[in-house]
Symmetry: C2
Subunit: 457 residues, 2 copies
């Protein structure tokens, strides 16, 4: 596969945030009393892994000790990134599907970060914890109820943490709203909305040479995410990717910390978009026109919480539409919605029954963490992946350094990730309500909120 185009894309991305070294201003990192460092292994060095390696290499408190991938091309790109940042070259593990076991067996690592195809997160996280390593895994943490329990049980048994790297929890607007929720500006929360509404047809299909679009190939013939991600749309009908929406919502609703998800229903539309894309882009004779996709184009999930609230989660990835994570936060005193960037607070908003712009609230209630890392904002922008990825990596590293549970822990990984298999089950059963397991085994009643309540991560 000629990889130049992709590489160019990545280099462009790198250049874009090249000045964003300040995203991790060295003066703010590793300033704790201890000058502890953490040694990390990186499993999965595709585009996502490379980007996180780039951010990790900025940090004076991180040693990148090992990288692992089955694809030597991706390993090569990752090494370029590390070299360009002036970091010492890590050991390379590229000896097939099981070589990650050699990484987790090393005795000099504090933790591994996993950015592999979804189906690999679970076995890799389990193996790492069993070998005494903490884990940061990309979303979702696992794909079945059984595997999610396995993560929880293994984490509890080994005493190793399993953090889900749900970066949207750190989005600047979302954190300002969280701040407002905690200060009671919305009153008692009632109803929230969120979701993954992202036209990623050009991610699910490409020409086998570039990561985004240019063709209708996937699987063996595809490149980057299309190699594995698209197959989930063939095999599964449900909310395949709930965590970007549900992560922030969980922090606002104190899920697993005073509240929990009780049950959900999911309902899917017919499946049209992916087949249509293949026909429109590849022509009616392309062999992929024969592929049957199970995934409904829009999947609507409604969750009921123990404290009474409801959450609508939307999954909408196969249709032409502008990107939106669909956030809405509504309580007894007011409502914020992201799609019109507006807010209404009873007794505060100047005109009754009328929206006002959110922007002044963003300024007034900017989360302390974002204020602290203000330079990052200047270079990256408040919705930039760089910003939120800096924060999620920072939380992973700082909690490792302090040897405390991460602010988004294995129970959060479980309650967020389990939405997918529960949603699939609900759809299979004609939108039947499906109960959430209580992964905390009752501890949600006494656990206290932690996310965003620490001045450093």
């Amino acid at each position: 596969m000629p990889k130049k185009i992709n590489r160019r894309n990545f280099i462009k991305t790198t250049a874009l945030v090249g000045t964003a070294v300040s995203v991790a201003p060295k003066s703010l990192i590793g300033t704790r009393a201890s000058d502890q460092r953490v040694r990390l292994g990186f499993i999965g060095t595709g585009l996502r892994g490379q980007w996180m390696l780039y951010l990790a290499a900025q940090r004076p408190d991180v040693d990148i000790a090992a990288i692992c991938d089955i694809d030597n091309h991706m390993i090569g790109l990752a090494m370029d990134v590390i070299r360009q940042q002036g970091s010492p070259p890590p050991d390379i593990y590229n000896n097939g599907d099981e070589d990650f076991l050699s990484v987790v067996q090393r005795d000099d690592l504090d933790a591994v970060y996993i950015a592999t195809p979804w189906e690999w997160h679970h076995p890799m996280a389990i193996a790492a914890m069993k070998q005494g390593k903490h884990v940061g895994t990309e979303v979702p943490a696992a794909l079945t109820v059984k595997d999610i329990w396995d993560l929880v049980n293994t984490s509890e048994r080994t005493g190793r943490h399993c953090m889900i790297m749900e970066n949207v929890c750190y989005r600047r607007d979302v954190m300002a709203v969280l701040n407002m929720v905690r200060r009671g500006l919305f009153g008692e929360l009632l109803h929230l909305q969120c979701g993954y509404q992202h036209d990623i047809r050009h991610v699910k299909f490409n020409d086998g040479n570039q990561a985004y679009g240019g063709g209708v190939e996937f699987g063996e013939e595809g490149y980057s995410e299309s190699k594995w991600r698209t197959q989930h749309s063939v095999d599964r009908n449900g909310d395949l990717y709930p965590t970007h929406g549900v992560g922030p919502v969980s922090t606002m609703l104190d899920i697993n910390r005073g509240n929990r998800f009780v049950h959900l229903t999911s309902t899917a539309t017919q499946s049209r978009g992916l087949h249509k894309y293949i026909v429109d882009q590849g022509g009616p004779d392309h062999p992929n026109t024969a592929v049957k996709f199970k995934l409904g184009d829009v999947v609507s999930t409604v969750i009921k919480c123990a404290n009474g609230q409801t959450v609508i989660v939307s999954h909408d990835t196969n249709s032409p539409r502008p990107y939106s994570l669909n956030f809405r936060v509504q309580g007894t005193e007011g409502i914020w919605t992201v799609d019109n960037d507006s807010i209404y607070l009873q007794g505060r908003s100047p005109e009754e029954h009328h929206w006002e712009p959110f922007e002044p609230y963003q300024t007034d209630y900017d989360h302390p963490l974002w204020k602290r890392f203000t330079d990052a904002e200047k270079t990256i922008g408040h919705t930039g992946h760089g910003g939120i990825d800096f924060f999620i990596l920072n939380a992973f590293v700082e909690s490792l350094k302090q040897n405390v549970p991460p602010p988004i822990d294995v129970y959060d990984a479980a309650s967020m990730s389990v939405i997918s298999p529960l949603s699939e089950k609900s759809i299979r059963l004609g939108s039947a309500p499906v109960k959430f397991p209580d992964f905390t085994r009752g501890k949600w009643k006494t656990n206290k909120p932690v996310f965003g309540l620490n001045s450093e991560y």
Copy 2:
């Protein structure tokens, strides 16, 4: 009860649309070959009935033969309206709860229009049809599955029409979008959203002297809608008022005409807003603080259609929030949402993945009916009640004159109204999916769309 404030409100309303006689420009009404007139009885002359009387009195093709209410004060206000419009005085029926029977027994009426409390729509419509009168009823048509079947069966047996007066079907933006849907601009429809998101706490409670706010009374102590509407929030948990959202959605999805609603799930939040309003406005010692409200503050319903589409219906009436009917129309080629007044159409919108304003589409795809009655728009505004109420009344009267089924018929009345009891049942059963009865008994498969396809109504 001193009614001055209310009366002043109504007079203000009347003045507001005083110049809107052109809403029903006489040149456009009754211009058909026949110079038929229709004789109507008006049952229920509260604020809603008075407004419709006002519009009916503008029409040269309508005789207002009878009015009926249990409340002499409202009868008096209605007579004022009729007198001010220079119409001959109708006969008055004000002899208690059952006097509507005397109206429907008259042998000189073509139809009755019903604008009474919700629970009365069904018995009045049934009585009217049994006496050979066509019916136009305010929303919802009936409150239980049994009563809704009764409407369908009685309409079929008597050959009398039962039109549901769902005015939002005629909203200008909604009709432009319907026009675009029919021209295929959205491709195949996938997912729609709608709902009644309206902070009507000041409707549910007042001071007993005015229709809107000023106190926390309802029931016997309340005035206007609070006299009866609020009790539904005490007794019922479900989507109490789905039709304003579901009406337009039904026309776009060809419900009962090639498609149908198959099942729904409903999930309600906790109930906080109404109690809180009583405490906040009436003080913690007000006797109404003891009232327990069953209605969850936000009720989210997801409907699955025979042709695969999903519809999210929101009911949200107890919380501070700007008004919105929550419309979203999404297909394989694009998406419109009302809350940001934006649209995105693949291959047409100038920038990929970016919204563009809806306004130019409103102009280009304005529905022929609205174009035809353009003068109305100039005086009323495209979302004005005057506009849509003119249209719904016009459809009722014109279909009566032509002796054809109304464009929104008893099957539509049924499939829209039944959402409430099904939603209550779903919530009672922990969000269980509940099947829609097929009120058309299979005819939905062959029935053809009619709404908005007629140049006159």
